[in-house]
Symmetry: C2
Subunit: 337 residues, 2 copies
Amino acid sequence: MKIVMDAHGGDHAPLEIVKGAALAAKEFDATLVLCGREAEIRAAAKEAGVSLDGMEIAPAEDVIGMEDDPVSILKEHAECSMARGLKMVAEGQGDAFLSAGSTGALVVGSRFFVKNMPGIKRAALAPILPSACGRYILADAGANVECRPDFLVKFAIMGSAYMSGILGVENPRVGLLCNGTEEGKGNKLTQEAYELLKAAPIHFVGNLEAREAPLGGCDVLVTDGFTGNIFLKLSEGMGKMVSNGLKTALKKNPVRLLGAALISGGLKEFKKSLDYKETGGAPLLGLRCPVIKAHGSSDAKAIYNAVRQAVHFVRNDVNGRIETMLQQTEQQEKEKE
Amino acid sequence: MKIVMDAHGGDHAPLEIVKGAALAAKEFDATLVLCGREAEIRAAAKEAGVSLDGMEIAPAEDVIGMEDDPVSILKEHAECSMARGLKMVAEGQGDAFLSAGSTGALVVGSRFFVKNMPGIKRAALAPILPSACGRYILADAGANVECRPDFLVKFAIMGSAYMSGILGVENPRVGLLCNGTEEGKGNKLTQEAYELLKAAPIHFVGNLEAREAPLGGCDVLVTDGFTGNIFLKLSEGMGKMVSNGLKTALKKNPVRLLGAALISGGLKEFKKSLDYKETGGAPLLGLRCPVIKAHGSSDAKAIYNAVRQAVHFVRNDVNGRIETMLQQTEQQEKEKE
């Protein structure tokens, strides 16, 4: 198996990418390919004191930045490290690709270079989020701002395939993000999607209020990319607000400082349970090859986890599972006719 | 000043409503009117050991429940305690109304009985949320699932009037909830609203990502009621998940239990900073008279705070401020023509 990596995306590239790759190379039975500026990659490896033995470098001199127009990956930046990696997996020179770079560029580049699976009109950005009793996948978190109801059904199928294939959740519960639980609630999009989801070969549990998702109300949370992006970003913002607020409250006097020292293990566990770095990245579901978006602020550990996620995606054939479910849907539709 | 209260809405009615009213009656220069079943109200006062002296009771035997269709407040439940209170303020027998009952019924009842201010097509449910550096108002949090761009401009104006009038925020920063900060981001609604907001007599700071709001990125967060409801409910759900998770982590062993005891003051302060009970309720902005929706799980303190909020709403003439800003907008539009 060959996992292709963008050496340059993210806030701490290439150093943390290279360190993460070195950690992953030891652990997983996969060849890692680093796309990017060879000199910088080698310098980063030297700085980190890690070996690139067994890894490959796919040279690319250009890098697409966060400030660049995502569409420029098709034109001015068509030879950047991200584009190079996407083209490699598209051409069969790798089994999966991961990048911590611009989400927009990765979405556009994936659509254009890697292309969608047959039967999928829109790939979904699908981060894995922590809940009170495990994890759930959110689709779509921002790849498709405007959605049609049938897109949401595909998101539900793809999310279910991921949760069962990678996280071993049997018969994942799919919830439709809505402003109320009753059937008939919601806007035009969710009302129409509700009807389609009821008929799809998934375990649909109905409309779900946003409050229930972090409390463990579903395994797959389906929504359009606009709402999903707001959901994802608010989760992050709330996490940060809480962690900052707690820090301030605990530093106020010596008694609290002592108390804080005694509970530091607990606080760490708690923070870990909320940490995106533990979950790896957000897969782009619905592409011909697995593409993983690692968080922009990924450190070596987050990159290591994203590689693990890519390996599992390939090994557990998530795309095969999606295909099977799509065929079931088609079959159902034919039988109805 | 006369504040009319629904004695029966919410999980802890009428006991906590009556207790909250008794606390508020001592503090504020306002007559409180409790709408509902007189016998139950008097029994609650007796149980709580509080006096109803100086308060009035407006009898209403019927109560609209959470499970009732909101629209039934216009028909089967047109004589319920909530409807009675709304009609009283509509008829000038009170200056503001508050209820901890069904949000849907309150929205429908307010629209029908109290009616919108001239120039306002849609009233907005506008809760006050805690941020890392204070508070911000969210409009709309669910009164209008489908919105037009011009509704969002009115939400911005009303939210600004509230934040300056009640919370003393000078020149409140209005952010448009969006999936990215750049102009041109967003869905059709936000893209069109963006242009209108730029021209409105408010301090528009542009598109705002959901993560920035709890970190203090704006004073007024504007969005449609579908997205706003998801935003509000996720804030609540994340708060609960965090608080539960923390509790579990801190109870794991005796050392942590000791530590937790030492920081209990800090934890309380921290929780208080996140607590909706401290902020009062969510005003329904854009009505001819102030209507406040208290949280369904309100205790006496939350009710007390909601009364305070109603008193300030009247005293600081928030509706007058909204009118002035609406006139400015009209003036601007005329000048353009």
